[in-house]
Symmetry: C2
DNA sequence: CGGTTATTTGACCGACTTCAACTGCAGTGG
DNA sequence: CCACTGCAGTTGAAGTCGGTCAAATAACCG
């Protein structure tokens, strides 16, 4: 039971943020999590066309959900953090229409959908919890559409960082407004629908205005209020995470 | 049963496209559909912040899911067609984070989530069907992210029209490559993340190249292959609708 | 160190936006 | 029947945000 189980706790703790669990339910949840598999940065975890027969729980590192356009153009549709339950309940669809890839050296638990279905059948409240995980990602994706379609580059970047901070906070990975942030700028650009070069200039804009400090390893939010103001950030769509303001986890 | 039930049939027929139903299940489904409510073009059906206590089945006309930015910037996140089951199973979330509005004079059935839950509990296969409806919309939204983030304006418009044609076809609303299309250009622009003016020029480009005919009432696909080519369209993400090519419904 | 990859900077270009005016059309009321 | 109104669509010109190309620096990696 030592530190090896801390990632599992992160997972169950996140579920409990939106769904209260009995001891029995929580135990069933813990038993779901398998031994972690390691993926180096850039590795493909699951690809377009694959059977949707597994779900994924990131334990360390960041996972990206992405689609590409054949000529190299690429869009990251969602970022999945430690504690998220990726593709829970998605097995009702036949095949994947997007791919999962490690945005960083990562450890993930791979769960067969059949085991998830068994647990969901036995514990209706857990099925509800799984659905919440899925619909939360949907709500986040919808906010991203707004980000990409209607916000300017600075607004979009600021908004993405606000969202990420709230979510990192909710799983206890943000300390003093700082957390590990090992994105390549190209990945960030692919998440925002920008070119890497323009993204670079936009990052510098946020740096110069004193909103953030950002190097290859770490992101630090220096001026949360200004960052939220630039982004026009309203975290209501993340409300079930129980975080009210950027950098302020409930409890 | 006369023509009054044709919209209901469109709904059950669409569900049966991805989920085979027993007579009993189908009957339960039909009983779910309530008397239609009329919304004039532009009317708000449900708004940000509302309780997620209803689901919606468009029977006539188009529904848009949208989010706005306070200063008037607006993004349409999804278009819902007759036969779709909107927000099925979404009641696990507390509040709406986007709004639903009639893009056209519309008739919709409004279903209390409690009734959906009762039916889903009684018929597991129907719960599966409801989930498929939800995840299909998710898959479509993800493709839209790519549309807005990485495709050029012409590609994006062409792609949207390809998708819409497949979906209209799947619910029997497309005849000879033509169907009613009463979008204002501003709405189309809001769906693509463009300005109405630029969208206008892009429409003309597709018109001039002989891909489409489009007036205030009707869209006609004149050259399906060229349109798909312009869009780089691959309809695999719509596969559970059982339509293989634009303008070719299965069966 | 040398080789590679990521970030940064500069100059230029183009897709898309904005502003403004004009057209066409449907509805309304005189 | 026809002005009048209002809205959607169209066109033109000018501006900007963000993209592309190219090269320099900086960080990493064996």
């Amino acid at each position: 039971m030592g530190s090896a189980h801390i990632p599992v706790d992160r997972f169950t703790a996140k579920i409990r943020r939106h769904t209260p669990l009995s001891a029995e339910e929580q135990e069933a949840l813990v038993k779901l999590v398998s031994r972690p598999v390691f993926y180096p940065s850039g590795a493909t975890i699951a690809d377009v066309g694959d059977l949707l027969d597994i779900a994924t729980i990131p334990l360390e590192g960041l996972i990206g959900r992405s689609k590409s356009l054949g000529d190299g153009r690429r869009q990251i549709l969602a970022v999945l953090l430690p504690g998220d339950f990726v593709d829970a309940q998605a097995s009702v669809m036949r095949h994947r229409t997007d791919s999962l890839e490690a945005l960083d050296d990562s450890k993930v638990a791979i769960i067969p959908q059949s085991r998830i279905e068994a647990v969901a059948a036995a514990f209706p409240r857990l099925r509800e919890a799984f659905l919440r995980e899925a619909f939360l990602e949907t709500a986040i994706t919808r906010e991203w559409v707004l980000n990409i379609g209607r916000r300017t580059a600075v607004e979009g970047l600021a908004h993405l960082l606000c969202e990420l901070t709230v979510r990192m906070d909710a799983v206890g990975l943000c300390r003093d407004g700082r957390y590990p942030f090992r994105w390549r700028q190209q990945q960030l650009a692919d998440a925002l629908g920008l070119s890497a070069i323009h993204l670079n200039r936009v990052i510098q804009e946020l740096r110069r205005s004193g909103c953030i400090r950002l190097d290859r390893e770490t992101l630090e939010i220096l001026d949360r209020d200004r960052l939220c103001a630039v982004a026009g950030f309203d975290g209501t769509y993340l409300e079930i995470l129980g975080v009210d303001r950027v950098g302020e986890a409930a409890e």
